[in-house]
């Protein structure tokens, strides 16, 4: 033990060894206090890492892993709350494949995901670039654009539902000045999906901007100096230096946002008010999560709900696989 303190594997000296070296004292104590104590000590060293990580793995086993597997098993059954499961094989999945509600919810999840994630991340990139300049009031701008992150899904959605109201909402009033509208922000499909995407985008753009900002500040300054010696404009530097340098961070935010978009639940539910669970009067913004909730808690078909949950997992595995491929491709390009 003492030697491992003195000589680290790389051979460097530990910084400023204390004048009274603790080494001999420790050794003396353990040899004088006999076997029981050193057994305890060894047990302490060997077992304690597992004790420290146990809370996470126990919690995960009880509230994560077991439910995950059990949901998979339920998805192969017909289940009602309180009733006994009845084996159905893949019937829940084949039922979903022929259900127009399922395909509608899948398509909505995809379209709302795209029209919320893409503008959100592009605006976040732009904002991060602006915040990366030397600024007065930097702290204020950072906290101002992060403020929406402090707002809950429920609060944000209820506020925006008023702003988007077709009859008296402020957004239609403003559009009216320009001679547009009134837009049916709830009952028409695309306006409703856009409104929901606006809520998601509003809450998360600042958060992503700060992540990008941190990555941008880690980009070596000499890259920019070299680029400006070559006569590259600020815009050119942004495209050719900044973006490639922070590509791993961009990929990270794309994956995180995609995972978030796949699970969209609160925004469409609360935006729809009394018809929220069905995603609007014509299911025009029902997402997979909403459909799962409707199947499980309204129609009492927990097997079908479980099948939807597992399909969401498969979608996420797909996303993860694509991400792994893309980052491997990136690494190869950088290496070659």
């Amino acid at each position: 033990m003492a030697t491992s303190v003195r000589a680290k594997p790389d051979g460097s000296q530990p910084p400023a060894a204390p004048p009274s070296s603790p080494g001999p004292r420790g050794r003396r104590r353990s040899s004088s206090s006999g076997g029981r104590r050193s057994t305890l000590y060894r047990w302490d060293i060997k077992a304690i890492p597992y004790v420290f990580i146990a809370p996470f793995f126990l919690t995960f086993a009880a509230f994560g892993l077991f439910p995950l597997i059990y949901t998979g098993w339920l998805s192969l059954n017909r289940v009602e709350l309180g009733g006994d499961p009845q084996w159905k094989g893949l019937e829940n999945y084949t039922d979903l494949a022929t259900s127009e509600f399922f395909w509608n919810a899948l398509a909505n999840t995809f379209t709302i995901g795209v029209i919320s994630t893409v503008p959100q991340l592009l605006m976040a990139l732009g904002l991060a670039h602006l915040l990366n300049y030397k600024l007065r009031g930097r702290g204020f701008f950072r906290i101002a654009i992060l403020a929406p992150y402090a707002t809950s899904i429920a609060a944000a959605t209820l506020v925006f539902a008023q702003l988007f109201n077709t009859d008296y909402g402020m957004i239609n009033s403003v559009l009216d000045w320009f001679g547009v509208g009134p837009v049916q922000w709830e009952s028409s499909k695309w306006p409703a999906q856009i409104a929901i995407s606006v809520i998601v985008t509003w809450r998360w753009t600042g958060y992503n901007a700060l992540i990008y900002l941190a990555a941008m500040q880690a980009v070596p300054q000499d890259l920019y100096e070299a680029a400006s010696l070559d006569g590259a404009s600020r815009w050119r530097q942004f495209i050719s230096v900044t973006i490639p340098s922070i590509r791993p961070t961009i990929l990270f935010t794309v994956v995180v946002s995609t995972i978030g978009a796949t699970q969209l639940f609160g925004e469409p539910m609360l935006y729809g008010g009394s018809v929220g669970i069905s995603g609007g009067s014509g299911n025009q913004f029902q997402t997979l999560s909403l459909l799962m909730y409707e199947k499980g808690w309204v129609n009492n078909a927990l097997g079908q709900a479980s099948a939807i949950a597992w399909i969401m997992l498969l979608l996420l595995l797909l996303v993860g696989g694509v991400q792994a491929l893309v980052s491997r491709h990136n690494r190869k390009k950088l290496g070659g």
């Binding site: 890492p49 439910p67 904002l127 300049y133 654009i145 707002t151 809950s152």
Partner: protein, 306 residues
Amino acid sequence: MARTLDTTIEAKASRRLPEPPRPGRRFRQTAGRQHHAGPLTYVLLAVAAVVSLFPLYWNLVAASHSGERVVQAPAPLLPGPRLLDNLSFAWNQVHMGEALVNTTVVAGLVAASTVVFSTLAGFAFAKLPFRGRGMLLSLVVATMTIPPQLSVIPLYQIITDLGWFDQLQSVVLPSLVAAFGVFFMRQFLVEALPIELVEAARMDGAHSLRVIWHVVFPVARPAMAVLGMLVFVQAWNDFFWPFIALTQDGNPTLQVALAGLGAGNHTVDHAVVLTGALISTVPLLLVFAFLGKHIVGGITAGAVKS
């Protein structure tokens, strides 16, 4: 004896410890080399700030008018006279006060327990050798991608069987510790805690709990504070599982109570609904106003490294 032991360890800690990397510090260090912003930058950032803050301001405006006024065009732009009336109605008639207490309890417990357990596990993954460490750490990271939808159905059955439906523990227990927290603390401790410090304490005869208390916790304190804030915000705003596990009339958190109001079960007075939204938002906004810099640092520190 115990006292001298403690003081030697602490003295050693203060002598040997490099300044722990404080999240957000990098900003100040490199900012000097950046270009100065032009007027257009300020205009665009001002627009972004207005877009970010306006819905929050309008929430306050709407909460200070009558329900009839909120649903009249043109929508009000300046605060009205009814904020206190709406607050007292939300507090007494729709029990937002109880929801506020519930939410504080839940978010506080979840944050405290996540911070402690994450620090222990993060320390083990960062500094203690044990069999299967690499594989188990990968497993921790992998669990972050599992969507909550996959567990809610069995969880719902479990809490119903246990008689926990509509009880706060059904929301607290599944969130006692989170993979993100373990990973966050591990990343911090890998850099911030010199292994010599742990070994020196051990050779002074300190057992593991002593090492945790006198070496790991003091070193990890800045990261624990940041993690605590992030988890608190997340638990405060959590919606999906509380909405399933709690009812609006029993033991709601603020988000569940708001969902009930918004869906029109109780009231269609939009001023009251938005007063509820205000009650749920203002405490976190105050936290942000006072600790914003640290939260900004925490978000960036957590994201960049993963």
